[in-house]
């Protein structure tokens, strides 16, 4: 029992502390590939500390939503972090959760973000929120389908069961479904984390922004919490990807320090590799027009459906 609580604590603290680091890695890697020096990989930490120390300004039209949403979103992502296998093949809340609950918890945090974007009455917030719900409407089926393409072979929606099964049957990887689902999932992750070619996380230009548009009315500690939450969300999406596609190296037991330590190192390495991978994609492509994105997601869905059909026919 004690070691489970310790593991849960480790997992939450790991997410809180590691998320800005992954963000820093991506930004730095992108800058290096574009022949810039780029910010230090620890810059996101400095930004967060600065936000937390500053006073906030709240609109006179805003209701209690603006003050409550940042805490809710920040906490929801931490609750989700207990449901995804990271260091070990099991997750602290794995027994009481599954992929559907995780997806709906993300939807809950998106709900509060998109609703609060309307709170100040600014048209930027409305625009960001309207675009976000458009993308998420197509994103959710795409995400479920790409996950199903893998889960169909295992017959469960429990993430830790899936991770364990894939870990013990490396043969799964050599199947064509795996590659199709992999590409489908990559497209979904790019959209879900708001990266180029779908959204640009570094811009405040109203023509292009989606997620940043919703955060425009936050300041000070509230902005800090929202930024931190979106960084943690990015880490969680990467972890879901890891546990569905390459869970190898996760510790099978929860009470052996050596294998836990190894699991931790491997997990961080995988996250860094994924970060660099997405930085490469961001560098290679230009941002898409907003109404082209549904086509990209539709192609992801078609790939997943193809993968599902191949699995079923076999």
């Amino acid at each position: 029992m004690l070691e489970k609580i310790l593991l849960a604590l480790t997992q939450v603290i790991l997410c809180v502390l590691l998320a800005p680091f992954i963000q820093g890695i991506i930004k730095n890697a992108k800058a290096k590939m574009q022949n810039r020096v780029g910010p230090s990989i620890f810059q996101p930490y400095r930004d967060l500390i600065k936000y937390f120390k500053k006073d906030a300004v709240i609109s006179d039209h805003a209701s209690w939503f603006t003050r409550v949403t940042p805490y809710i979103c920040f906490t929801i992502v931490l609750v989700i972090s207990l449901m995804i296998p990271m260091i070990t093949l099991s997750a602290p809340l794995g027994f009481a959760s599954d992929l559907i609950l995780v997806i709906y918890l993300f939807a809950l945090s998106r709900f509060f973000t998109a609703l609060t974007a309307l709170d100040a009455g600014s048209s930027f917030g409305g625009m960001g929120s309207s675009r976000e719900i458009m993308l998420s409407a197509i994103l959710e089926p795409a995400l479920l389908l790409s996950a199903l393409a893998i889960l169909l072979q295992i017959g469960t929606t429990k993430l830790y069961v899936a991770a364990t099964a894939i870990n013990s049957a490396p043969g799964l990887v050599l199947q064509p479904t795996y590659f199709l689902a992999f590409i489908a999932m990559v497209i979904v992750i790019i959209t879900e984390t708001g990266r180029i070619p779908v959204d640009n996380p570094d811009t405040h230009l109203e023509l292009t922004m989606i997620h940043e548009g919703m955060l425009l009315e936050y300041s000070g500690r509230y902005l800090g919490l929202m930024m931190w939450a979106s960084q943690i969300k990015q880490l969680l999406i990467f972890s879901i990807f890891i546990s569905l596609f390459f869970p190898w190296g996760m510790s099978a037991v929860a009470n052996d320090i050596v294998s836990l330590g190894l699991g931790l190192v491997v997990f961080i390495l995988k996250l860094v590799c994924l970060g660099v991978f997405f930085a490469v994609i961001e560098t290679m492509y230009a941002k898409m027009r907003l109404f082209q994105v549904p086509r990209l997601l539709a192609s992801s869905m078609l790939l997943s459906i193809l993968a599902i059909i191949i699995t079923v026919v076999k």
Binding site: F52, A56, H61, F65, I100, G121, A137, L143, T156, G220
Partner: protein, 668 residues
């Protein structure tokens, strides 16, 4: 004991209805008497149905018989009891709410009529789900349709209310025709009009006849449930009715159709081939998708809710189809899961839809408009209504930790297990695709909720109506809060609902789905989820996070200032309104929904327009493509038949004589 409680429940409704009509001249007194009767009747309904479900005893109440073969018997088995419970639970909330809501009509209309008819409406719904023979079923079904028609027409001075009422009464009778036909076909084969004989002999009917009965009852009950393309009355009638009545109609009257279809397919026909289930799933998915897209496009708060009912009925059809597939495939564990999901969703839809209609009614009460583009900023004027609307809405969008999420989860799991555990490749692929479409529908529901709530309750008021709004009377708040509490409790403790559904899953699939903390699947080692545990984690983490942040960075400080608007003062025209909010989604699906945007520019010089007016219309073209040809056909046929209507008394007498002779010959 049980039987007498149920009898007194019916008597309260009956007295509440009849006495009101006799004494309608002292309006307020009659109104309060009717409300009291409705409240008492609903409470007794809850008590008697709980007695049946928890003790698994049965109630049978013999009323009277006109002739020997037409006895009027109302009885409660587990299935009936579950639906009586849902009806009377919502009944309690709506009667409390009505005490305040009739203020909207006071002085303008006779409020005693409204409350009196509500009693009869409740009585007819309870009679529908407890009927034991075709005779009493159709009688109460027709009573329910007619009373609800009268209630829809309550505000009949308005033209759109009248047209909505007439469309409703035509459509509902179309449904009754098909129901009568399917019951008569059953009568032909079983030689009886009683439901118990249908259950005993129904499975021996030849398969082709069964198919015909099944399809006819889908049309019949589907009309009442507002399933595509028979939903046309729903978005018209529900907004036209007074809000307490729309809450009853949408939350519970539609459920009587689900009850009927369930009874028909599981009890009378004893399940069927796999394609029955597939048919229901396809119809349900189409209904859910089109319903929610139209809901998203809607700027009228009550029409949005009506379309969302169409969507949810679609969901229930999907899960009913899934249960039929599991029955056909002999999967008893998964069948039990699907039946539980079905009943759970019946409960949670009744709860959140009644709450949403009541809170939309509260907005209407306070602002006298349903158009969200005229509202805004209501969260400051009506904070309690806002929170209650939010609870109902979040449950509608199936967000954890509310009861809507639990039922959505169970529905998705049932469909996923079609893919995971059945052997047919077609069914596997269908299961995956159905899950994807439901995910799309869920995301749309979320978007529609943000649009409605964000536009009506947040930011700045868009008209004088919204500026002058005040919080609604306490009775209305209490009625809404009553349902709100159940939505939250059933989310945290699904076992409370599972205790009521387990007798049914046991009756139909021999497996009980029950648990203490987790909602689990009785299959492969019992996988499950627990929203309660997740919420516990949420509370622990948020407390620690708040404490840690305050300790390290100090107390949160903020100043209040204007919203940044690039230097110019912000006004309400600059806000995103309902139409603009959903426009981006509409553009993506414009081919499916027939989106048309017209931009009119009034200008003096070409590049300096004085006024730009943008109008966005959504029309899926069902009415033009399906209804118009049918109406034309009906008109042409009627004109042909008109020939015999000569206006000559002698020829009418001759028709009667002929009819009599034919009838006598037929009897020989």
């Amino acid at each position: 004991m049980q039987t007498s409680i149920f009898a007194s429940c019916l008597i309260f409704f009956l007295i509440g209805g009849l006495a009101t009509f006799l004494s309608y001249k002292s309006e307020r007194l009659a109104h309060f008497f009717a409300i009291f009767c409705a409240f008492a009747g609903s409470v007794l309904g809850v008590v008697s149905s709980l007695g049946v479900l928890l003790k698994t005893s049965k109630i049978s109440l013999y009323l009277w018989s006109i002739v020997e073969s037409f006895p009027l018997v109302l009885a409660m088995d587990n299935l009936s009891a579950y639906f009586v419970l849902v009806i009377s639970l919502i009944g309690i909330a709506v009667t409390i709410y009505s005490i305040g809501y009739v203020g909207e009509y006071q002085g303008r209309k006779n409020i005693a009529w409204l409350s009196g008819l509500m009693n009869i409406f409740m009585l007819s719904m309870i009679a529908v789900v407890t009927s034991t023979s075709v005779f009493s079923f159709l009688l109460s079904w027709e009573l329910m349709s007619l009373v609800s028609f009268l209630l829809v027409m309550y505000d009949h001075e308005k033209k759109e209310v009248r047209s909505a009422g007439y469309i409703y009464v035509v459509m509902t009778h179309l449904g009754t025709v098909f129901l009568t036909l399917s019951f008569l076909t059953l009568f032909l084969y079983t030689g009886s009009l009683s439901f118990s004989d249908f259950t005993a002999l129904g499975s021996a009917i030849p398969q082709t006849t069964k198919d015909i009965i099944f399809v006819m009852s889908i049309i019949g009950f589907g009309t009442k449930a507002g399933i595509l393309p028979l939903h046309v009355w729903l978005p018209r009638a529900h907004p036209a009715a007074p809000s307490n009545i729309s809450a009853l109609m949408s939350a519970v009257m539609l459920k009587t159709a689900i009850y009927g279809l369930f009874r028909m397919s599981f009890d009378f026909l004893g399940g069927g081939p796999v394609w029955w289930g597939v048919l229901l799933i396809v119809i349900g998915l189409a209904s859910a998708f089109i319903g929610i897209v139209l809901a998203l496009a809607e700027n009228d708060m009550k029409r949005f809710l009506a379309y969302s009912s169409s969507e949810n009925m679609g969901l229930i059809f999907v899960i009913l189809g899934t249960a039929l597939i599991f029955k056909a495939e002999g999967q008893i564990f998964l069948g039990a899961l699907a039946v539980t999901a079905l009943l759970f969703h019946v409960m949670s839809h009744a709860l959140f839809k009644s709450l949403l209609f009541m809170s939309a009614g509260s907005v209407l009460y306070a602002t006298h408009t349903k158009d969200i583009n005229l509202l805004g900023g209501l969260i400051k004027k009506m904070p309690k209504t806002a929170i209650l609307f939010l609870i109902g809405g979040m449950s509608m969008a199936s967000l954890p930790p509310l009861s809507g999420f639990i039922s959505e989860w169970a529905i998705l799991q049932s469909l996923l297990h079609v893919s995971f555990d059945l052997s047919s490749a077609w069914l596997k692929v269908m299961g995956c695709l159905a899950v994807a479409i439901l995910a799309l529908v869920g995301a749309f529901a979320l978007a529609a909720l943000i649009k409605q709530f964000g536009t009506a309750f947040l930011a700045m008021p868009r008209s004088k109506l919204a500026e002058e709004a005040k919080e609604v009377p306490l009775a209305m708040q209490l009625g809404m809060a009553f349902v709100g509490v159940f939505i939250i409790v059933f989310g945290f403790m699904p076992q409370a609902v599972l205790a009521l559904t387990s007798p049914l899953s046991k009756q139909y699939f021999l497996t009980e789905i029950k648990s203490n903390m987790l909602f689990y699947i009785p299959f492969v080692g019992g996988e499950g989820i627990s929203v309660g545990i997740a919420t516990f984690a949420f509370i622990v983490i948020i407390l620690i996070a708040l404490a840690a942040i305050t300790w390290y960075f100090g107390k949160s400080r903020y100043v209040i200032d204007e919203t940044w608007n690039c230097g110019t003062p912000l006004n309400d025209l600059m806000e995103y309104n309902g139409t603009s909010y959903s426009h981006s989604v509409m553009v993506v699906f414009k081919k499916i929904i027939g989106l048309e945007s017209k931009v009119q520019v009034k200008q003096k010089y070409e590049y300096y327009p004085k006024q730009i007016k943008a109008n966005i219309e959504v029309d899926i073209g069902l009415e033009d493509k399906i209804y118009k040809p049918m109406i034309d056909l009906a008109v042409t046929l009627s004109q042909k038949i008109k020939m015999i209507q000569s206006g000559n008394l002698q020829s009418y007498l001759a028709y009667m004589v002929c009819a009599l002779i034919i009838a006598l010959l037929f009897l020989e």
